[in-house]
């Protein structure tokens, strides 16, 4: 291969820039030209292509977001548009494609790979919900940001003897909620994967009040229940509860990436280039059992990654 393309797609995640830097520089070292595609799949449709050299990715390792921009392009689900994209790539003499993104983005990537064009995905989403990889780029940074926010919120919770409900991201999955809850010392963690019982939570709170523990922290994934709704549910059983809700929102996406995300991104970038050059296609580069691994894109986007239930149980134990 002489020329490969690179794009970022879907929700931005901290560490995407570190992955871009790695692909561009490893590509350079391997003697392959790397072409940046702007604004995700939109750029494939518009042939918005720009060569990237090592100096072009200077000073981006520590920056959140993505210098290639990103977008959500629902119309990319249409076969016609996918073929248009392949056409544009071929017209520019591009022989392979690397897509940095999460579930939806890798679905698009899988569709492209089904046309026979060599594509590789790099697992990157704060949600960490891609099957076959233990971690995705952006997850560690997102959870650290959430934990840092919870540390601040605990100050208020303790000072007032209040119950704080902290809603974190995760529409389909509770990975952020579980790690942020365990890492933030939450009393209760609500995730989409595990049923919860408001009455039991309220009972536990009453028990704690009797032991003079007046403050509580509840972390919920947006996909389990919204913070406001949870507050209403709790007040049904405990109208006197002094509750506050905090929705962490978009701060979870940005900021400088952590060690974990910078190094994971650098590794996945390198392996993505080497996979393409080695003749692989239709694969996602991820990390499994602390080793960089290739996962069939089809599996990555269709199989459901399960939550670590042992960790969930541990979170209950350490919050006694």
């Amino acid at each position: 291969m002489k020329r490969i393309a690179l794009l970022t797609s879907g929700g931005d995640a901290s560490g995407m820039n570190a992955a871009i830097r790695s692909v561009v520089r490893v590509g350079y070292v391997r003697g392959v030209e790397v072409i940046g595609v702007y604004s995700g799949y939109k750029g494939l449709l518009n042939a918005d292509f720009h060569p990237l050299l090592p100096r072009d990715v200077s000073g981006i390792l520590e920056r959140g977001g993505t210098i290639l921009r990103t977008s959500r392009v629902p119309e990319f689900k249409e076969k016609e548009n996918q073929l248009k994209a392949i056409e544009n790539l071929k017209a520019a003499e591009i022989e392979g494609l690397i897509v940095i993104g999460g579930n939806g983005s890798q679905s698009g990537n899988y569709a492209l790979s089904e046309t026979g064009f060599p594509t590789i995905g790099i697992a990157s989403t704060i949600d960490n919900d891609l099957w076959g990889t233990d971690y995705t780029i952006g997850f560690d940074t997102a959870v650290n940001t959430a934990i840092n926010a919870i540390d601040k919120i605990r100050d208020a919770a303790v000072s007032h003897g209040r119950t704080f409900i902290v809603e974190v991201m995760g529409r389909e999955a509770g990975f952020i909620a579980l790690d942020a809850g365990l890492g933030g010392g939450a009393d209760f963690i609500l995730v989409p994967e595990i049923p919860f019982n408001i009455e039991k939570i309220v009972e536990n709170m009453r028990e704690a009040f009797r032991k003079n523990k007046m403050h509580h922290l509840i972390v919920c994934a947006e996909g389990a229940i919204h913070g406001r709704d949870l507050e209403k549910e709790i007040k049904k059983y405990m109208p006197e509860a002094d509750t506050r809700v905090s929705v962490l929102g978009y701060i979870q996406r940005g900021g400088p990436p952590t060690r974990f995300d910078r190094i994971l991104a650098s590794q996945l970038g390198e392996h993505a280039v080497d996979a393409l050059l080695g003749g692989e296609k239709g694969k996602l580069v991820g990390i499994k059992d602390n080793k960089i691994t290739l996962i069939p894109l089809k599996d990555a986007v269709t199989k459901r990654k399960t939550l670590n239930e042992e960790l969930y149980r541990l979170a209950e134990e350490v919050s006694v």
Copy 2:
């Protein structure tokens, strides 16, 4: 004076602990016993008094919240309860009182001072809305937290070419919004003190789009308009706008205090003790033109502090 009491009241603010530490240690140095009152005015009503020695305030300088706990006690507005509080103080042979808190708390403090009991207030609220003082303890930390959050959110705004609305605290006043907006590089800042025109904002956004600036940051004080409502308003004029809302919420209260808040808190604590010992009463200790100053509590809680309009204009200029 041989014995004085100290309490924190109302919303917690980062730096309250630094002020507690200062009062306790300066009191010790001046030879006066400092009694901590737990849970704000509630502790005055219950005579929840605990002597505080220099070692009791070790390791709290860097912690958000307040080790004395805080509360909101609406019934403290009743004369009867105020007299009960004074009675409890006198029964414990306490000769003066220092109240660390914001507007509502200093109103209670003013009421107490009107009975003739020597009281001093220390200006502490993240809202910075006490008349007569340029800054209050907790404001600088709150704004730094907001700016740090905006820095993260900008990563997503730029990467997606989106409009982000960031709602910060401030029910009555736009101090946090103005400083967070100017410091965070917001394109528009909405505060309760200054009328705004959604149509004009939308017009400016369209103008920017024409110049290919696709992302925007709007910072609004909760007291000017809620983020969700602002989003609806914008969509009325610009249904195609790609907007997201982030409500920063309680992270603004907590966390380790900044240099500014640690030093201000240490200074105000010292001057509060010295004011009481010097025979002052019914005063708020604050900072004006970079000098520690005493403000009549009555003025502090009844007069309205105005926003720095020059700073607001500057924010408009530097966002061109």
Copy 3:
């Protein structure tokens, strides 16, 4: 077992408190009494024992350092003192011991276990140099702190077009240097495990100057070469070099632990209790290939953990 003891030893590492909290609370859930030993092995010699209940470890999850205090006790290498320690444990009807610490501390622990007394170690050192475990508690936080410092230092390096030498901890091993260097975007990384050639570094720098890249970042482990000495070496070959040295030092040990360290510490704490209760002895609890694992203490402290050379090579590639 009805009663177990817990101590922290050697250099403090962020996340030790999270491990203490986990041991205490999981112990409580399992129905075993946990006795805190103060100041490491010194506390074993003095029988400085204090029962720990779940409330005693409230609010420590986010704090650096160790509430049990720590120490270095060279005289604990003497058999006589080890027997004295076992005697004190038995006199207090303590049936098992958990030691949180790094290489030196686990050597002492191994010695104790050789007497037949049931002991378990929890891998905790910022240096990450315990054989058999991929990570140790405190390493991730230390490297994140180093990366954050390097991010700040790069601002000056770029602004002045200077060469900055950043010395990180690691007397025997380059784990911190490698991850901080790769994560911080260093141009060169010097570790004890891999020989380096100053002349070649200087040559590369000259090459970069020709391409108009004027700033450089060199990260060195203290065990490879001290920053000041490296500066002298560089100046031998390049007297005109505009160099500065920054020794990061003790900031690497403290501060609030990261997600990684909080969760690892919680997991290792739980498994340490369960290992003891399950009849294990003379083992270190660590993490291998993303799974919690038991390593014979003897192996952990006598075998030499090797650096990931692939990661080292990657660091060279992404710094082109």
Copy 4:
């Protein structure tokens, strides 16, 4: 005036970019062209001039360092070079100059102004040692970084019961040391402006040991005594002292600026433009008593700013 030049000079300070952004955008609003001079006075000598438009300063508000680069140019002290600089400015039809920097840089600026060419300075140095201004851009960020580092170091100090010596920047002045020491809760603060007595410090430490306070934090300005030398001095009187030294170094210069520095920089930038346009020359823009003010450059660089001794005394009181 139709065209003005802007440069940054001397040691970089966080917030310089915010000041650049303000000068460029306010200049644009006022209808004056702003020309960026690269690498400080070196760029004046080489006529390294580049027009700056509002979009050129996008995304720099939050970045440490200076996009205009900086340098130290000792030969700029020579009259001949100053005249060469003025010649270059005039040749480019530049009618005024703004210099962002500290003491040395403003001395150069004063020399230029003495030729009659209209120049204005913006007070920016982490050292805060310019006469006539209460604060300089970069000081607040530097001290916050130092305080954050001290917070981490205290974890180790407390855990080991050790004495930590933290050396901060400040060759001529103790402003950073005083604020970092007071804000970081130091037991002793050593500054160039105030004589200190090692024997008395050691005496106080012994006294604390007797009260079972085993850890100590000493903050020293590099200009008062170097950390290593202080350690030796202490060990003369107290050979058994368990001391460690941490030299904070260059992390104090960089990183994202704080609220204080972003807003101060925005204000000073605006006022510098307006001062030039209003016909002022040979002045430094600073802040005095919370108001933006103009100081004769001659005074700013020749008079000695005094340390706030009340604050120093307060630091002693709150460390009892």
